[in-house]
Amino acid sequence: MNADARAPQTLAQKLIARACGRDQVAVGEIVTCGVDLAMFHDSSGPRRLQPMLEELGAELWDKSRVVLVMDHYVPERDEDSRRIVRIARDWARDQALPHVYDSQGICHVVVPQHGHIRPGMLCVGGDSHSPTGGAFGAYMFGVGSTEMLGVVVTGQIWLRVPETIRLWWDGALPAGVTAKDMMLSMIGRFGMNGGRYQAVEFCGPAVTALSMQERMTLSNMSAELGAQAGLIAPDATTAAFLAEAGVPAVDTAPWFTDADAAFELHRFDAAALEPQVAAPHSPANAHGVSRDAGTPVDVAYIGACTGAKLDDLRAAAQVLRGRKVAAGVRLIVAPASLHDQDRAREEGVLQALLDAGAELYPTACGACSGYGDPMGDVTVISTTARNFKGRMGSPNARVYLGSPYTVAASALRGCVADPREVLA
């Protein structure tokens, strides 16, 4: 079939068709795709994969396509975490893995910053926030460890070609309103399974205007929408980010949704969006910040792949520069990667946060996963992605989710606060 006779395709269909070696694919088909990149971390990776690989007597299909990141159990705090991280390090050495990032930051941020995820690829990650890779125009989704075993011994994975739900944002975001607020509002509207494990695609002028890291926040929280993938058509912004990451001249041209393709469309107005807060215990419990404003908080947490990238740290510093957090409130900052922490230091962003009273935590998943620095029976406002009961440690912890602006403003006021009042 020649290209002209091809039925209109969504970005998701084009990416999957390439990965399974076809001209086109139809929604609902189950296809087997070749995997371009398999990413996993110390928790989902070696400690679970190694025993199964040994049992099978199987080898990795292609070490150059495997990336291992130590981010969940570092820095090691007890004998169990030391054991888990030791397994990862020993295995990486035994396998002579070429791509290992140990204690460099969180996989969803570190891996793109090293240029591993590029437009047109099909990638899997051993973590539910793997849709972050969709911000680069790659079809990337999360899988469990056993499925990852299947990938690393065969180089393949099955997929049901998804429907595409386009989330179109017109207008421009007001000052103090971010990609995180866009996501919380959409999760509040559609619910945590509103994505129905289909592909969502973020588009429209307000999305195109976002920085690469803000786009990553959208794709990242596609997980909380229940989508399999959260795609953004790559463009000059994508190419510029990848060039800085050492990947010159990526071809972004083929990767877009045809105008006459079949998709579900929802339109939003960025200009009308106010800062959003999700109250305990669900990201879908999201509303404009005014509903929860005034609720006292004990801890303000700026961390995670979702909310502690350089752009997030910059946003927090914009609120906190020259000010002090409220008495009795702990402000914790755990940058998402060493790279971002270094840049924040160079720009004076980190100092502004420290001067405001922030405690600097390691560049790791930390309290977000409840693995590293679990929270006690406290009320937290956090830039992370999830506020399930017990997620950050104690089942009695109450976690509110917001943007870095909102979390920083809440740290200043000692209660959930609207950042626009501070920025004004």
Binding site: E55, G57, A58, E147, L149, G150, W158, G226, Y371, G390
Partner: protein, 166 residues
């Protein structure tokens, strides 16, 4: 054979099934904490062959497959719910746990005895109602019957080592 129903609400997430604080341990320990924040007695009192009947969005959250493995460990025969997290759905079948997607699941009661017709698939309630479930692709049913993806890979790699390099 009938199965005793454990009735759970909607939106049971992976942190509820496999709490983060227990994740550093093996599956036997994680299983003891399964659903501790939702039904404290569950891990202690669940018996092999019991089924979970839940509201929509079962398994939302993390990719941690321990959230499915704990139910296999505890002998849960199947989960019956109107909808699942897609990632959990994949993990469950990979681990050999049968999930049945049943629009009327929530009409089933705590403690009632149900029977499963896996081939249809359908659930028969204690009062004789037949609740239809969405069809499961044949290759996934095969995977569950084999005991999960690892069992299938074992067959492919260990029992037929000549295929391991293909």
């Amino acid at each position: 054979m009938t199965h005793r129903v454990w009735r759970l609400p909607a939106d049971i997430d992976t942190d509820a099934l496999a709490p983060g604080h227990a994740m550093k341990h093996g599956i036997d320990v994680i299983a003891k904490h399964c659903l501790e924040a939702v039904r404290t007695e569950f891990a202690r009192e669940v018996r092999p062959g019991d089924v979970i009947v839940a509201g929509p969005n079962f398994g939302i959250g993390s990719s941690r497959e321990q959230a499915a493995a704990v139910l296999v460990q505890l002998g849960v025969a199947a989960v019956i719910a109107p909808s699942y997290s897609g990632l959990y759905f994949r993990n469950a079948f990979n681990l050999g746990l049968l999930l049945l997607t049943c629009a009327e699941a929530e009409s089933l009661q705590e403690g009632e005895q149900v029977s499963l017709d896996v081939d249809q698939p359908a659930v028969r309630s204690a009062d004789g109602r037949v609740l239809a479930c969405e069809p499961v692709p044949a290759f996934l049913m095969e995977m569950v019957r084999a005991g999960g993806l690892l069992a299938q890979l074992r067959r492919r790699f260990k029992d037929q080592p000549d295929k391991a390099s293909t």
